[in-house]
């Protein structure tokens, strides 16, 4: 017993020592401060990682993806929480921008009031960006949310304490408190599907191919093809989060 206690003390000593070393390794937890000169560029290592492209030129705003997502991931349909949602942007003659997403776009969108005044309009589907430098995993006090080796950010439903700090930290509003499980929840890129070789529910439900998902770094991957040939953009590059979701045709008014 005494020995045990002593060992425990040693482990305390070890912990204190480790605490000292933390100062040295602190950079590990601030990757954006050390690793990247251009924070918006994906890091070199791509093999075995997933990629997601949203083509805003194609989205027709039918809301099938939102519906499919809620069904697949068992998020209550009647609650204002979404793992993915669709926004409509309309710009009129006076350059007024109007953004809307009635119930996340799950039932589509109503016609606008004065259609003839609209000069530019389009839909933008949103989902978790599975950021490489994810602010949400960084702030989780208990290590309940993390990035898997293949680059997907998940929430451990058994460890989440429900403090909502990650919800605050996400610049994209992609996280929410799950009304049933009472833990933080978010898009997992249908981790249970992609790990079985299927595609995500939203990609599968999209009638027009506005969402493309696949591995990156493999030759015939559709995502890779777009990423290497098209001009893509990411949301909120200034946040330095390095999202893995790339957008085609992103307008400057998109928030």
């Amino acid at each position: 017993m005494a020995k045990m206690v002593r060992r425990r003390f040693f482990s305390l000593g070890g912990k204190l020592l480790a605490g000292g070393i933390v100062a040295g390794t602190i950079g590990k937890y601030f990757p954006d401060t050390v690793a990247h000169a251009a924070p918006t560029v994906r890091t070199g290592k791509t093999e075995g990682k997933w990629g997601f492209v949203v083509d805003t030129y194609k989205c027709i705003g039918c809301g099938r993806c939102v519906k499919a997502c809620k069904a697949e991931s068992q998020v209550p349909v009647d609650q204002e929480v979404y793992r993915t949602w669709v926004e409509r942007y309309t710009v009129d003659y006076d350059k007024n921008v109007k953004i809307e997403s009635p119930r996340g776009g799950i039932n589509g969108f109503p016609e606008v009031e004065n259609r003839e005044r609209i000069t530019k309009s389009f839909f933008v589907p949103k989902l978790c960006n599975q950021c490489e430098n994810a602010p949400c995993t960084k702030v989780c006090p208990v290590g309940a949310t993390y990035t898997t080796p293949d680059g997907v950010v998940l929430v451990d439903r058994e460890r989440c304490v429900g403090c909502s700090y990650c919800i605050q930290a996400c610049p994209y509003g992609a996280r929410f408190k799950h009304p049933v499980f009472k833990v933080a929840d978010k898009c997992t890129w249908c981790y249970h599907r992609i790990s079985k070789g299927m595609t995500t529910a939203c990609v599968q439900a999209c009638p027009v191919g506005a969402r493309v998902f696949g591995e990156i770094g493999v030759p015939d991957s559709p995502v890779d093809k777009i990423l290497s040939e098209e001009r893509v953009n990411i949301l909120k590059p200034e946040a330095g989060t390095m999202p893995l979701v790339d957008y085609l045709g992103l307008d400057k008014v998109v928030v």
Binding site: V142, V161, G173, R175
Partner: protein, 402 residues
Amino acid sequence: MNGYIYPNEANVVWTVMIVIYPYITGLVAGAFIISALYHVFNQKVFKPVSKLALVSALSLLLVAPIPLLLHLSQPLRAFNIMLTPNPSSAMAGFGYIYSFYLMIVLLEIWFIYRKNIVTMAEKSAGLSKIGYGLLSLGAKDLSPGTLAMDNRIINTLAVIGIPAAFGLHGYVGFIFGGIKANPWWSSPLMPVIFIASAVVSGTALLILVYGIGSRLRKREPDHQCMTALNKYLWIFLIVAVSLEALEIVNAGYQAKSYWPAVYGLLTQQIPLSFFGIQLLLGGLVPLILLPAARLKSFAREWQQRLTMIAAGLIVVGVFAMRWNVVIGGQLLSKTGMGYSGYVVPLLGREGLLMAVVVLILPIILFSVLSQIFPPWPKDEAAISEQIEVSKSRPELRSGTVG
């Protein structure tokens, strides 16, 4: 709700409980700083409130985790924060920083009251004899050598306590200041502002507790002490208000992309609680009232009264400041194009009623704790003379104290 907010932002997730938490811990820090001024910086004038400060700090500190637990949607897992604290999370520090701080306060109280405890354990009978006996941990020695040692320990603890208090507040501020997703929070000034306003609110609360407590006990508060508290509070307030103003002025002057959204927040969403309560009532008015209260032309009684009014305003103002940070920051949508809404529900775990209960709890706790650890000096009238006599008598609460 107006403008466009992300669909997931419809529910404000950090509710009034998260307003109360930093508010309560803030009050702790201030009380603690005053006690440190007495023990470390030898500000003898604070003697009448040095114990009071500690006991009220303890009653607040014990309540501080309650709003957090009420807010967690998985409160039973709260201990995870001690088990697997994430080193990259500002919030993960809570468990350890709080425990450390609590330990310091408990130790300080124990050492300060040890003489008291031991005498009580010897003189009283029945339950309280057993209770005090246990509290004394059997260390019943009151020889001058041991007492001198106690004093050294108390001073050391008070010295450690200052960085601990700053650490606790710096970290609470950083929880907000480190969130780059929220332009109203994200600022390196945030931890400093939190420390400053914590000290301000705590000092103000101490003035109120001392003032009101003395009145309730039909005693006159020690005037020198009140004046000194008034002066310190004024200086702390100048620092706090100018930092808060600086923050806004800087953001407005730089006018970065998010400024219109923040401006809209301040002028349309929370103008009353920001300009009206936080800055005017809780800042500028006390800034004038406090020095005014020291004017010789006022009678003693009125000087104290004005000081207490100013302190009351500050305590309210700092609550508004916490509200404006916590709730205001969430009203501001991450889209920068709209604002969500928040109304405190009356009932429920995070409702108004519960909030009132949480805010009253420290008062109840204080009245219980002050039975065990008598915080009031034995006779205020004689306090000023006592200051010179550095060795004070054991302040026993015999049956006739009242």
